[in-house]
């Protein structure tokens, strides 16, 4: 009996030892993610696999670590497609790092949830007041995040194609009206030369839907939520103007102007001539300009009645509320706010530099440059997505409604259901707290 029990004990010890071994292997890196250990701070970014932007982050970290001897910043990169969910899961277990980047529209949600701490970056080389307003993440009058760049929505087209069909090339002072746009599409469709005259990246997933299409909704006079107090979406998201937008949007598909599901790479399809006009982000401008040269027309958003609109705010940097070394985190944030880094970011990512000083130094974006219009778009047309902790929920509902509308759902029903769901969500959550 004793002998047999010993066997059993041996087996259990073996199991325990194996587990402990694994635990031991892991501990080296396992303990380092609780924000900061001493003066070593962890920083999370959404750029895993995207080396151009990641390299800029690495460069700033390296220069910061070299510039002083007190703090060390350590980088941890996540794949973008699941970044938000990874952060939220980590946050629910109180495991956030000191520094992290956040997609602009999510700032209110994370601030409300108590993940982010307000940042004080006064005294840094670039003052906040120099930045494009959409690149500063505010919630309830406090600054929680700032970005080095913004992006803009735009149409790309070939001047030669537009001229061939007698379509006016719009300018920032005189954008297309809805009637003009519709007749242009009809003309292009009639030519029979394009699979679909309009390409809007409808195969895209997630936030692209809200980022790309809600500005058109706003230009029609609709919106995602009643911005007066952010209490209800009913009457706004399913209001008359919103339904008009949805009906128009669906008609693009039924008239054969727009594919209800774009291919894997919409910009490539446009460059290959499958479509005549592409609704895209300014981040693809450099690539497109390289291919099309002077034939490229960068066209402002259509004025559907309520003025041309684009979405504002892209990725921004923030500090977590659980950070155990706030002085170190703020030191990094302040250090990073140098014009040269604004320039580096914009160059690497083909985006709009967030300050005028940086704009002067980025080829194409200086006044008179071929991409300077994007700076103008961002100044004149940018509308931030609703500044409410409910934004992530609102966005998923809008995505679903839009997808359904493209697939043939009744516009009024789809938007009505989304508005109802959003109102339920607003009612059952304490969005006023925090």
């Amino acid at each position: 009996m004793v002998w047999r029990t010993r066997r059993l004990a041996e087996a259990s010890v073996a199991v325990a030892a194996a587990t402990a071994l694994v635990a031991g292997c892991a501990s080296g890196s396992g303990g380092s993610t609780s924000g900061a250990s001493g003066d070593t701070l962890t920083l999370w970014t959404h750029n895993a696999g995207n080396s151009t932007e990641l390299d800029v982050v690495k460069k700033i970290i390296k220069e910061f670590n070299g510039s002083q001897s007190k703090y060390k910043v350590k980088l941890q990169a996540f794949p973008q497609s699941d970044y938000n969910n990874s952060v939220v899961a980590a946050a629910s277990a109180r495991k956030l790092p000191c520094l992290l980047d956040v997609d602009g529209p999510n700032v209110p949600n994370w601030a409300w949830g108590g993940y982010l701490a307000p940042v004080d970056v006064s005294g840094s080389e670039v003052p906040l007041s120099d930045q494009l307003p959409s690149t500063v993440g505010r919630y309830k009058d406090k600054v929680y995040a700032f970005g080095f760049y913004d992006v803009s929505l735009t149409f790309f087209a070939r001047k030669s194609v537009l001229n061939e069909y007698g379509i006016r090339i719009p300018t920032i002072d005189k954008p297309w009206t809805k009637a003009e746009f519709d007749s242009a599409l009809a003309e292009l469709k009639k030519s029979g030369k394009f699979d679909y005259p309009l390409e809007m990246g409808t195969g895209g997933l997630g936030e692209w839907y809200t980022y790309g299409y809600s500005p058109q909704l706003q230009s029609f006079g609709g919106d995602l939520i009643d911005r007066d107090g952010y209490k209800t979406a009913s009457g706004t998201l399913d209001g008359k103007s919103s339904v008009e937008w949805a009906t128009w949007f669906r008609s693009l598909v039924t008239k054969g102007y727009l594919s209800k599901k774009s291919g894997a790479d919409p910009n490539k399809d446009f460059l290959a001539g499958k479509s005549a006009i592409q609704w895209d982000g300014s981040w693809n401008a450099t690539k497109t300009a390289e291919r099309l040269g002077d034939d490229l027309a960068i066209i402002p958003p259509v004025d559907f009645g309520n003025g041309p609109k684009i979405g504002g705010a892209s990725w921004q940097w923030a500090m977590s509320s659980t950070c155990s070394n706030k002085a170190g985190a703020e030191a990094w944030l302040k250090f990073s706010r140098q014009t040269k880094y604004f320039v580096d970011y914009a160059k690497a990512t083909s985006t709009i530099p967030a300050t005028d000083a940086a704009v002067q130094q980025v080829d194409g974006y200086q006044p008179g440059g071929k991409f300077n219009v994007f700076v103008e778009f961002a100044r004149k047309y940018a509308e931030v997505r609703p500044v409410t902790p409910a934004y992530p929920y609102i966005s998923t509902e809008f995505q679903k409604a839009t997808q359904d509308i493209l697939a043939g759902a009744d516009p009024e029903d789809a938007l009505g259901q989304a508005a109802k769901d959003i109102d339920n969500n607003l009612k059952t959550n304490n969005y006023d707290a925090g």
Binding site: A18, A26, A264
Partner: protein, 290 residues
């Protein structure tokens, strides 16, 4: 004559089906050597399955620039292997107790274990994230061990929750029942204890069941995706499947996705092919009895 026709018919059926099952994977492998433009261009013809055109290893070089693939592969090998070894030990012991020994509560435990089969992991993953972070953790700090709390961002959070598995217990249970009970009785007469019977008699006779459970535990461990995204923050600890999401950037590189998919699939396929005869035969001889 008719039997020859039938024979040929059966063979033709087998070949057509083999094409259906193999071609998508052939497409993946072949595309991994082609540039993106050609992958799309070839979609319209048989060329999609043929290694023709501008073949190169560019996609593979690209993969290594984007993803620490070697580290991910190493992690997955480690995680999957330990899960399999511990899983076989823990589940076969439980199954042995349930199948061959008499004790009160046996039926109840068996029913309860089998009932857990119906619970999909995704439905309780979120509470589990919170829960694993409340668990105590023994870790090495310098030269001594110390207790802390929270399993986030470790290897073990990717292993331990998946060691005990109702399906494995069930499978072993079925197999153990098919081994004659007289063996136990004879061993007891010879003075052997139950653990000896398990270790020296039943387990050596259960090679096929062990092989089956090993493969069926290995696959989900190798393929886990959602869980590591939630609980692992350090790149050094990530498994292979998470690497897939590194490729979904603004401009998706499909060639690289095919290359990476091939890299994480082909080793498993090769492993399986090497052992296919013994594996297929092992399941076949397990003689599942429901």
């Amino acid at each position: 004559m008719t039997s020859l026709l039938k024979h040929l018919g059966g063979h033709a059926g087998r070949v057509v089906l083999a094409l259906v099952f193999a071609l998508p994977l052939v497409f993946m492998l072949v595309s991994s050597f082609k540039p993106d433009d050609q992958i799309f261009g070839d979609l319209g013809s048989l060329r999609a399955f043929l290694p023709v055109g501008a073949l190169s290893l560019d996609n593979y070089t690209g993969v290594f620039e984007r993803v620490p693939a070697a580290r991910f592969l190493l992690n997955s090998v480690l995680i999957s292997t330990i899960t399999v070894v511990l899983g076989i030990l823990v589940n076969s012991m439980a199954a042995f107790a349930l199948a061959r020994m008499r004790w009160t509560g046996r039926k109840l435990v068996l029913t309860a274990v089998i009932a857990t089969l119906i619970v999909p992991f995704e439905t309780f993953a979120l509470p589990l994230v919170w829960w694993v972070n409340q668990l105590p953790l023994l870790r090495v700090n310098g030269f001594h061990l110390e207790w802390t709390t929270g399993w986030m961002d470790t290897y073990q959070v990717q292993i331990v929750p998946f060691v005990a598995n109702a399906f494995s217990v069930f499978f072993f249970h079925q197999y153990f029942q098919s081994i004659p009970k007289e063996l136990d009785e004879a061993a007891i007469v010879d003075g052997a204890g139950w653990f000896t019977i398990y270790r020296r008699i039943v387990m050596p006779l259960s090679g096929p069941a062990v092989a089956t459970v090993a493969i069926l535990t290995f696959l989900p461990a190798w393929n886990s995706y959602l869980w590591p995204l939630m609980v692992v923050q350090s790149e050094e600890l990530r498994p292979v499947m998470v690497g897939i999401s590194y490729f979904f950037q603004l401009n998706v590189g499909w060639g690289q996705i095919m290359a990476y998919s091939s890299m994480i699939t082909v080793p498993i396929l090769a492993l399986f092919m090497a052992f296919q005869r013994s594996f297929v035969n092992s399941i076949a001889s397990t003689g599942v009895k429901g």
